[in-house]
Symmetry: C2
Subunit: 308 residues, 2 copies
Amino acid sequence: MATDDDKKDMCSTVHVHNPHLDALKDDILYHFNLGTSTHDLQAMFGDVKFVCVGGSPRRMKLFIEYIAGELSFEDQKSEFPNICAGTDRYAMYKVGPVLSVSHGMGIPSISIMLHELIKLLHHAQCTDVTIMRIGTSGGLGLEPGTVVVTKESVDASFLPKFEQVILGKTVVRSTDLDQCLADELLQCSKDLGLFDTVIGKTMCTMDFYEGQARLDGAFCSYSEKDKQEYLAKAYQSGVRNIEMESSVFAAMCKLSGLRAAVVCVTLLDRHKGDQLTSSHEVLHNYQQRPQILVAHFIKKMLNASGQS
Amino acid sequence: MATDDDKKDMCSTVHVHNPHLDALKDDILYHFNLGTSTHDLQAMFGDVKFVCVGGSPRRMKLFIEYIAGELSFEDQKSEFPNICAGTDRYAMYKVGPVLSVSHGMGIPSISIMLHELIKLLHHAQCTDVTIMRIGTSGGLGLEPGTVVVTKESVDASFLPKFEQVILGKTVVRSTDLDQCLADELLQCSKDLGLFDTVIGKTMCTMDFYEGQARLDGAFCSYSEKDKQEYLAKAYQSGVRNIEMESSVFAAMCKLSGLRAAVVCVTLLDRHKGDQLTSSHEVLHNYQQRPQILVAHFIKKMLNASGQS
């Protein structure tokens, strides 16, 4: 008969790659306002199987309320306290096996959060964790509101790599994502039949304005023609949407053995404009789509494993 | 006699470098939830002379309350509504000629904010604006709590440049800051005599853990010796503190003609450790120091111009 330890060996754990961590008496997850000596991380987070992350703290609170209702784990009107209330760097909410965490905007902001999240999941001895970024993006050649599940995250030169500077030297990391998970999410969208979802490459940039060839920033040294040519090249290379976090998200999740997906709705078609002129209601509706898709996927997984 | 237009010509305005902006009927500052057709930006912001920015929205709210009391512009107990309440990307507060804006963590996050802030100040026809980043940082060879006024922002190779990717190509921008302003801020610290302030180079990195040679991230492929050698090289090149926003802040402010300074307190000496083990009270006290220094400077400037 399999013991608990045997079972753990068969499961996929969350890897840290840092020999120095064992020497730490206490590990302070500063930007979460959590720590190994102040919190029982295993008791708090040991049952986490799904982590959903997104830029906006408000959106991640709405997501936990939404999925709590969908999973019928708790009364939909329950209060979900912010687990990181002691800091305003990130917000974190939990219901059952689902953790919802905000990450701010851009690669450095999500990278700080992921370092501390990966350590948190490691300290909590979580197993078989799936992590999904649910976000917003600019689309290329897609009807606004279309959801893109990322096949591969590419940089501003359309190459599938993330450059991490360590001790002043650049290290190149792979931005591979889990293709089976992407296919499962696409199937979930077909099951739902509520909105269009495609699988495509996602371009991850360091800047929202000049970095994404927008014409409406404080600075712009190129023409509309230059912009369109650049976006056309991106489209030809398979890019279907543009955002600012997917490359480091893919790289760090791969290093730590987390099954990862990026699911972003497109708020506009960048071939046709730069500014978000849709009404608040329309944009709000679009922003719910990655949540609906991912919630459906989580429900399906929990039903299949008999946990819901 | 000088007309109002003549006077405006003698003042320093906020430059945008974007010929496309004039063609926009409405300019939506999406991440502020403000726009030229929905808000009278000149009426709301035309009198702004000082902009203070920092990572944390809570800290920037505390700052506006603090400076309101210092300037006696309003009852210290007044409520200061968040001007960007319609979004949770950034928070913005105003009292008299002082604007306080949060920018999140990292270069991409502050860069989005600065694009929209520069356009806001331009649309509002503000003149003679001084902008100061008041933040936290890791120190090198300094007693924790020491404030560093940045002489020059350098990258992870200790070079004074910011690399902006535009249409997939890298453009190098200068990270010069206003040396007279830095000297004036140092003098303010001497006037106050409350804490140590130094002028030094600030290293701006893309990552808090591996990017700053920390040993306590989820990943670490180098030794304590490698870390110390890297930090020693940084110190030898004149670096006195490390943070994550100064380079793009310096570059964008220079391009737009804003008089700019970076004033960050050091929360720890990175030669001696990586984790923030000081008590909440001590860290809170440290975080107030850039606010106290900058508030003193603003008061001095307003007194000199007879506006307070």
